[in-house]
Every structure is written in structure tokens, then in C-alpha cells.
Amino acid sequence: MKNLRWNNFLFQLVAFLLALAFTSLIMVFAGAPPISAYVEILGGAFGSVNSLANVVVVWMPLLLVTSGLLITFTAGLWNIGIEGQITLGAIFTTAALRLLQESSLPPWLIILLAMLAGVAGGALWAVMAGLLKTFGGVNEIFGGLGLNFVATALTLWLIFGPWKRPGTGSMSGTEPFPDTLWLPQLPGLRLSPWSVIFGAAAIYLVYRLLSGTYFGLRLKAIGKNVRAAFLLGVPAWQHSLLAFALCGFFAGLAGALQVTAVYHRLIPSISSGYGFLGLLVAMLVNYQALWAAPVALFFAALNIGSIQLPIMLNLDSSLSGVLQGMLVLFVLLTEGARKRWLQKNG
């Protein structure tokens, strides 16, 4: 067992180095200095308290999304609809804020209600994917893609239609909320301590849920073999739906944070692609909740650090996307290699 873990780690390390090597190669071909690029990325992510705070701003919603996805992954579900779930969370939050901002309720209560609405929105969208699967026979991948599409269309319609800024017809976003309706931020930073609390709580809860409860065990059984789980008395579709709902809960919370703590309004790409990024993270950590935090941190740091590339080296920051892609590719490749190696030499 111990050997196995070491072995696992070794393979991951190899994957990481390979990804780094290949990205460097591409940079060299593009005429860019790889070492300074990496130094810039690192410095850009961790070089100051401010940039560190910005990394955390990305890290927390990503962690929330990943937490949710770990649940659906465990239940053997490919919750591709996660992007839409984040978006719906954001839409519901915005709706609640718009509805209540004129009211006499205290701001903290408005924010709280809006976040609850966001959570409900995410869960609702996830449960839709679940219902489509259990009762409509629609594979959750296709259902999710469809629901993502609808969520985007809904956002655009709201932004360009009913929620447009007075006198303006623009896809850039709705009217920003007054800063009384922002989640409180740390002085001088863009980071809200609440994000950190939610992110940390989410990953801890999911870790506990998956590794220490009967519910988690049942989800795992469904993920490994639905037929067997059912015969052993696990109410399979009910648990699948619940997994969806929980994942949507976290995704919705991430969407709510995007509105109340980051953008303070609804914009077309409100999910910031964290859904797909979260899928990558969940895939990379291979169901192990504890690894989700550092891996998500890595991606968040890459996101923020790569802003330095155009500033300092006149490089396109999509290079960080190349690195991300390479990483995923190589981890999956070495995972395959590892499995084969284990089977033969186990």
C-alpha cells in the first residue's frame, strides 16, 4: 500500500516534469525564454500579498466547484453541466440582489438571501441534469452540455434584455451593485474572507463526506458498480440525484461568490470557466479530496501568474493554457502507463 502511493506520486511527478518540458519546448520554438517565463509566473502569483490574495480569489471558487465535482465523480457521474450550475448560481444571486436592493432589509441579510438563492439555483440546475438522466434517459454529459447552453443563453438574454443598464445595450454586463452589497473584503485587498471560509469548509466537508460516511460509501458503490449497489440495497437513482444536488449546491455557491465577491454584477462569462477547470482538477486528483486543495491552488496561481507574461515578456498569456493542457494530458497518459505497469508488475 505504501509502495503504491509512492509509486503514484512518482508517476505524477514525471507527468508534471514532462508537461513542463514540453511547454518549455513550445516556448523555445516561439522564441520565448522558458525559465524567465516560469519565474515571472511564480512571481506574479506569489510575489506580493496583493497577488497572493488575487490567487486566493480564484482558488476559492475553484475549490468549491472541485468539491462539488468530487461528489459527482465518486458517484460515477460526469457532471459536465457544472458550468451551467455556476452560471445559474450567479443568475439567482443577481436576481435576488436586484429584487432586494431597494428594500429596507439590512445589507447583510440581502447578501445572505442572495447567496442562498444562488445555492438553490445551482442545485436546481444540477438536479435538472439528474432528472434528465434518471427519468429522461439522457446521459448526464449531453444533458449537462444542453443545460450549459441554456444557462449561457439565459445570461445573455438577461444582460441584453430585462437586466440591461439604463440606456445601454451591451453584452458587457449588468449595472454593478453598490458596495454595500459586496461581501466584505479584507482591507486593501480584493479578497473576501468569506470566500476562504466557504472554500475551506467545502473541501473539508466533502472530504469527510466521502471518506467517513455511509453516504459517501454508497456514492462510491454507485460509481463503481450501479447494479451491484442497487442489489445491495442502495437506492441508486435517489443517491445520484442527491450527488447532483450537492454538487450544484457548491457550484451555485461559487457562482454566488463570483457575483457578490468578485464581479459585483452579472457578466456573460460569469463562471470564469471554473467549471471546466474544476473538472480538470477533479480528474487530476483522482477522487482524493485532500489533493484537490493544492492542485486547485496550482491552477489558480497559474491563472494569476500568467498575467505577467504579456506585461513582462510580451508573451501571450494563453501559454499558461498550454501548460494546463499539457499537464492534464501527461497526467492522464502517465496514469494509463501506471495502470499498465501495476497490472504487469503489481
Binding site: G167, T168, V262, L290, P294
Partner: protein, 400 residues
């Protein structure tokens, strides 16, 4: 301690160790480093490139000045970031002045200016610090700069009207706001003037239609596709398309259709060099020349004479294409016929001589009178045009 926790600790330590290595920051050389946030790619042959080139111009004119920039500053290209946050990155790299180059960054620019009173801010196209404006906020460290592109658009409209054989002009609009309404309306006014005055035709026989894509440039899946919009124009009898967006899809599309034998033309926007992509169909381009204003403003930041103000810079009527003096210009394209070109020149001369098309009677799209007969529009009336004008087709999104 479990092995897992141990590993997490080790990886965290690694990160911290690397931090140290990465921490030494580069201090900028020279007296002033200014940062620029470009909403699109720095080489978009449009709005963002006009700013980028202006920055380069400043570097040559102001010894020791240095530009650093981030381009593609929009939530689709840089998920999870805000302009204010990116401005801070520029400040961290030594910038003491930051240019926010898009209307889309307006809220963020205000937020940033408030949070960083020691950093100078140029908000291009904004009106926050216009005392007589509708959105005034006191921000001592901010200057608004905009060119009077209305003139450029009038000339563009004129060139379009003189060239069109169908009498149908399409306007590829970005998003809808005060700025785009007034620019589109200006193009219409120019077109109508030349159509009736130089060609002697009936104003009612001129159709002028706007289709908005929803943003300054194409964001796949979010905005309408500008190529598609241009194509629809050309294929429904609109033989000239005036572009109001930051990028050059209209030119590319006209070039394609013209190569296939269709008689169509296009007028791009923003950037002096944007006709290059399709010389054979380009009637000319109304462009911004941010350089002179930036040199002046950045100099004032460097020598301490900075004072918050709102600038709406007119062209240099002696020569609107003088890159050292004129804020706005019109560069005629190869596809403009000699006859039309001379009429365009005449029109420019008339404008230089004091012709004002923003003079009543002007009715709004819904038929209500905006400027009475003989009444000359004030800056406020032009800047905050609430609707498109009577005679124009397309969505207005009226502002009360």
C-alpha cells in the same frame, strides 16, 4: 501525521521556497512608466492597436518614458480577473499612470482611481470627470480623453453615401450606449448631407440601418457574429457597410464578396492602418490619433501640472491627418472614386469652415423633436444622445 498531510506540507514548502526566488522585482527605468489596459488584442487593427501605437508614440516623444501593457482585458479572455486588478499588476511593475482604454472598464476605472489616489488614471472615452456631465464623480487623479469622432463618422457616412449604388448603407454597431448612438447618428447625418447636397437625391431614398452585435468585438457565443452581420447586410442590398466595432470583420467580408464579383464596400474604424486588409474595397477609415493627447497628458503627470479634466478633442482642421496634432482623422481609401474623393474633401473643407450637422431641425427616432430648427446641439446634447435619429433603422434602447 499521515503521509498525505506530509506531502501537502512539503509541496507548500516548495512553493514558498520558489517564492523567494521569484520575488526580486524589476524596477522600471526612466522618469515615467505608464501602464495600458487594452480591451482587445494589441494588434487588432482597431481600437486597441490605435491605443497601443499611441503608447509607442509617447515613448518616442517623451524621453525615458516606458509603456507596459496588458491586452485582452475582458472577462471572456481573462476569466476571473477585473480591470482594476490588472491595473494593480501594472502598478506593481512600476507604472505610475494607467490608461483604461475602454468604456467597458468604466466602473472598474472609477473603483481603481478611488482606491489608488496616488496613481494617475486616464480613462479613454469616459465622462466621469466631466463636471457638466451626467456621471460626474470627483476624482482628482483621473483625466477623461476622447476624440471628436463625430466628424470622422460624418465623413465616413458621406463617403458611403457618395459611393453606394443602392442607396442602402449598413452600420455594423458594437453595443448600444451614448457613445455609439451619437457616432452612428453622426455617420447618418454625414451620409444624409452628402446624399442630398452633393448628389441632389431625396433623403427619403437613403436607407441607413444599424445592427448591433452586443460588444466592442466578437466574443464567440456571446455576441452576434460580426462577419455574419456584415454578410447579411451585403446580401440584402446594403452595398456599403460602415463598421463601428473595434475589429475589421466588415472589411474582410467585403473583400471576400467583392472577389466573388459583388459590388460592395466597407469603411472600418478606429485605426489608421485598417484599410490595409482590403484596399480594393476600402473607402477610407475614420481613426483616432490618441498620441498627441497622451503625450500632453502624460507630460503633465510627469511635470506635476496634472489636473483632472475631461477632454473631447477636435480634429486639427488645418490638416485632420496630421499625426502630431489632430486627435481624429479620416484616411481615404483606394476604393473611393476620384469624384467621390474630391467631394469628400469638399465636405471636410465645409466642416472645417464651420458646417455643423448637429443643428436643428433634428428629430429622434420616435419622431419627437430633439433640436429645434436652427438650434445647435450642445456638447451634452450630442454626447448623451438618447436615441437614434429619425430616418435611421435599428434598435435605440432609449435612455430617459
Amino acid at each position: 501525521m499521515s503521509r498525505k498531510t506530509l506531502w501537502i506540507l512539503v509541496s507548500l514548502l516548495l512553493v514558498v521556497a520558489m517564492l523567494g526566488a521569484a520575488c526580486q522585482q524589476k524596477k522600471a527605468a526612466g522618469p515615467i512608466t505608464f501602464g495600458m489596459l487594452l480591451v482587445g488584442p494589441y494588434n487588432d487593427h482597431g481600437w486597441s492597436q490605435a491605443h497601443y501605437d499611441a503608447g509607442k508614440y509617447v515613448e518616442t516623444k517623451l524621453a525615458g518614458s516606458k509603456m507596459i501593457y496588458v491586452d485582452k482585458v475582458n472577462p471572456a479572455d481573462r476569466p476571473g480577473t477585473t480591470p482594476a486588478q490588472l491595473a494593480e499588476e501594472l502598478v506593481a511593475k512600476g507604472a505610475t499612470l494607467v490608461v483604461f482604454n475602454s468604456d467597458d472598464m468604466k466602473d472598474s476605472a472609477t473603483e481603481f482611481s478611488k482606491a489608488h489616489p496616488d496613481i494617475k488614471v486616464i480613462m479613454a472615452s469616459g465622462d466621469q470627470v466631466w463636471k457638466e456631465g451626467k456621471a460626474y464623480v470627483e476624482l482628482p487623479n483621473m483625466i477623461n480623453i476622447m476624440g471628436r469622432m463625430e466628424y470622422g463618422k460624418m465623413v465616413a457616412g458621406c463617403a458611403a453615401a457618395l459611393t453606394s449604388q443602392t442607396g442602402k448603407i449598413g452600420y455594423l454597431g458594437p453595443l448600444i450606449n451614448d457613445e455609439t448612438r451619437r457616432l452612428t447618428a453622426s455617420a447618418y447625418l454625414g451620409a444624409k448631407y452628402c446624399w442630398t447636397k452633393y448628389l441632389g437625391k431625396d433623403a427619403a431614398a437613403l436607407s441607413f440601418k444599424v445592427t448591433w452585435i452586443g460588444f466592442w468585438f466578437n466574443i464567440p457565443g456571446v455576441t452576434s457574429d460580426p462577419t455574419q452581420v456584415a454578410d447579411d447586410f451585403f446580401n440584402s442590398g446594403y452595398d456599403v457597410v460602415i463598421s463601428g466595432i473595434d475589429t475589421t470583420e466588415a472589411v474582410a467580408e467585403a473583400k471576400k464578396l467583392s472577389a466573388a464579383g459583388q459590388k460592395v464596400w466597407a469603411i472600418p474604424y478606429d485605426y489608421v492602418g485598417s484599410c490595409e486588409e482590403g484596399k480594393e474595397i476600402c473607402l477610407g477609415v475614420p481613426y483616432f490619433n490618441w498620441g498627441p493627447a497622451y503625450v500632453k497628458t502624460i507630460t503633465s503627470a510627469a511635470d506635476g501640472s496634472w489636473k483632472s479634466n475631461w477632454q473631447w478633442n477636435a480634429p486639427d482642421w488645418k490638416d485632420i491627418n496630421n499625426l502630431d496634432t489632430s486627435a481624429v482623422g479620416f484616411k481615404k481609401g483606394n476604393a473611393l472614386s476620384a469624384d467621390a474623393a474630391s467631394k469628400v474633401d469638399e465636405f471636410i473643407k465645409e466642416l472645417a469652415g464651420g458646417l455643423n450637422l448637429w443643428k436643428g431641425p433634428i428629430n429622434l427616432q420616435d419622431g419627437s423633436a430633439y433640436l429645434k430648427d436652427g438650434e445647435v446641439g450642445t456638447d451634452q446634447q450630442v454626447w448623451y444622445l438618447p436615441q437614434l435619429l429619425q430616418g435611421m433603422e435599428g434598435q435605440s434602447v432609449p435612455s430617459k
